[in-house]
């Protein structure tokens, strides 16, 4: 009887995973089939021509990366600090409403964030359509996700470790740096991956903040089209843009793979090397 239950669960788990991977391969296969024809060195190095149907996506890649860097540079420190505060310092009465607010923020639709970003960064702070506006808006969107996952990870670290650190005379900061954060590394990494994914995938928010201009940005206050906006425009707005849309999607997928690998490597080297558990 016990054997059957075990086998059943094993089968269920294998089946479910196969289903998931199968669906993914279907989607990816579709993108590859339609987009691989477009992929060559010129596509990656040239500027778009003919409304994006011909030419390449070089300026768009640069804009996307700049927006991502700005977003990460703002969201990661802020997010880590807030998560640390929530998990280590905040009294229960303060933490609870803050968490509720964070959850609410995570539930705001992306287009509303776009309008918020437009109203705050583009208009009120005078940045106009720019990479700054796009990056900061994305940072706002990434924060709840990143904070929630990081805090979840920090909270999951057993109090034993904190007591052990105190017993050894470590200051709280030292304990965080050397023990707690490394121990929470998987959660932090997961949060980072999800946040980066969310940032790269975001379309609606960026249309209203970093804009539509497909020229190579000369500074962070220039308007720059993100890759997701480009894919949207090509597939939904420009007739005959499908091939280029799929090609761009393929490039985006490769970009995500690359960024994920780099981020995972960094966090592993940085954080996990410090734990021996």
């Amino acid at each position: 009887m016990r054997k059957h239950g075990d086998a059943l669960l094993t089968a269920a788990v294998w089946l479910a995973t196969a289903l998931v991977v199968g669906a993914f391969l279907w989607l990816l296969g579709d993108v590859v089939i339609h987009g691989i024809g477009k992929l060559d060195a010129a596509f990656l190095l040239d500027a778009p021509q003919n409304a994006g149907r011909d030419g390449g996506i070089a300026p768009i890649l640069v804009s996307t990366l700049l927006i991502l860097v700005v977003a990460l540079a703002v969201a990661v420190p802020l997010g880590l600090a807030t998560a640390v505060y929530l998990s280590e310092y905040a009294a229960a009465q303060l933490a609870k409403p803050l968490r509720v607010c964070l959850n609410m923020l995570a539930g705001v639709p992306s287009i509303v964030f776009g309008l918020f970003g437009n109203a705050l960064f583009c208009v009120a702070l005078g940045m106009g359509f720019s990479i700054w506006s796009g990056g900061l808006t994305l940072a706002c969107m990434m924060l709840p996700l990143f904070i929630v996952t990081t805090e979840s990870g920090l909270s999951a670290v057993s109090s034993e470790w904190r007591r052990g650190a105190a017993a050894l005379g470590l200051s709280r900061a030292a304990a965080l740096w050397h023990i707690l954060l490394p121990a929470a590394a998987p959660a932090i990494t997961a949060g980072l991956m999800l946040s980066i994914g969310r940032a790269l995938a975001e379309t609606a928010a960026l249309i209203f903040t970093s804009g539509y201009v497909d020229r190579m940005p000369e500074s962070l206050s220039d308007s720059g089209r993100a890759l997701s906006v480009h894919i949207y425009d090509l597939s939904m707005n420009v007739s005959g843009g499908d091939a280029a849309a799929y090609g761009s999607a393929l490039v985006l997928i490769v970009l995500i793979l690359a960024i994920n690998s780099v981020a995972v490597n960094l966090t592993e080297r940085f954080l996990q090397a410090r734990t021996t558990a």
Binding site: A73, Y212, L220, D222, S239
Partner: protein
């Protein structure tokens, strides 16, 4: 391994250097508005930049209404609107037409129906006819594809067929042209309406759709240019009052024959000269 501090310093330095803006005072033109016109404006802007070094033309989207509002408030130098102006708008803004766009009914290629009268179209869209066999086709449910409220294409469609939006019984509501084309191309029983130029292009490139003639006039870019086709709309650049300086030069450029090839490349109809 470089220390964390040094890495941060380097990053900050790079960041600050990137902040040095290359923006030069009065040499930038900002256009916002219709996403239909945006690709065309982008290409015209690029050619204008090539011919006028040092000038920058930034195009942003957001919809025709946004183009109107931004032109009015001055947030944009030029607004883009894919429709004729309303009376209250015409008092403040000046419209400069740069192209025309026809709107045609599309069906799936495999649909045997080749012609629909205005009355039949009205009945299909209000739900009175629900099956293709009632208009001479196969026994198949009709999937009515309508545009979302507020779009200029919808308003034109409603005006031409003397309908009100609440009367329409749609099965699928779409936002952009391409969504309409893809929806009809994926459903043999679908009927929708899109820009004629776009539909012509898709047809010649193998997408399984067909354009229907309207009131006996074939739906083609040529017919729209000659003014024969009943359902068409202007693509306008809007300015607050008479344009001056850079905006004036740009609009004159956009209305000239020098950009006719760009207009046709985006599957719109160049102005008849």
């Amino acid at each position: 391994m470089i220390s964390m501090e040094k890495k941060w310093c380097a990053a900050v330095c790079v960041g600050l250097s990137l902040c040095a803006s290359a923006w030069a005072g009065g040499n930038k033109l900002v256009l916002t508005g219709s996403s239909t016109i945006a690709p065309l404006a982008l290409e015209i802007g690029k050619r204008f930049e090539q011919q006028n070094p040092g000038v920058r033309v930034d195009v942003q989207t957001g919809g025709s209404t946004r183009g109107v509002n931004d032109a009015r408030t001055g947030l944009a130098d030029i607004g883009m609107a894919s429709r004729a102006m309303k009376s209250d708008e015409a008092q403040v803004l000046v419209a400069h037409r740069i192209a025309m766009d026809g709107i045609g009914i599309i069906l799936h290629q495999k649909n045997p129906v080749k012609n629909l009268s205005d009355e039949q179209i009205k009945q299909i869209y209000t739900g009175q006819i629900g099956n293709w066999r009632e208009v001479g086709g196969e026994d198949r449910k009709i999937t009515v594809v309508n545009k979302a409220e507020g779009r200029s294409t919808l308003e034109l469609f409603l005006h031409h067929f003397q309908l009100n939006n609440p009367d329409i019984r749609a099965h699928v509501v779409i936002g952009d042209n391409q969504q309409g084309i893809k929806t009809v191309a994926g459903n043999v029983g679908a009927i929708g309406y899109v820009s004629i130029g776009t539909a012509e292009y898709e047809q010649t490139h193998g997408t399984p759709i067909q354009l229907l003639p309207m009131a006996g006039v074939g739906a083609s870019v040529a017919n729209v240019r000659e003014g024969k086709f009943p359902l068409s709309r202007p693509l306008n650049l809007l300015t607050k009052g008479t344009p001056t300086g850079l905006a004036k030069r740009f609009i004159e450029f956009a209305q000239s024959a020098a950009v006719d090839d760009l207009v046709t490349a985006q599957y719109f109809v160049p102005l008849a000269r």
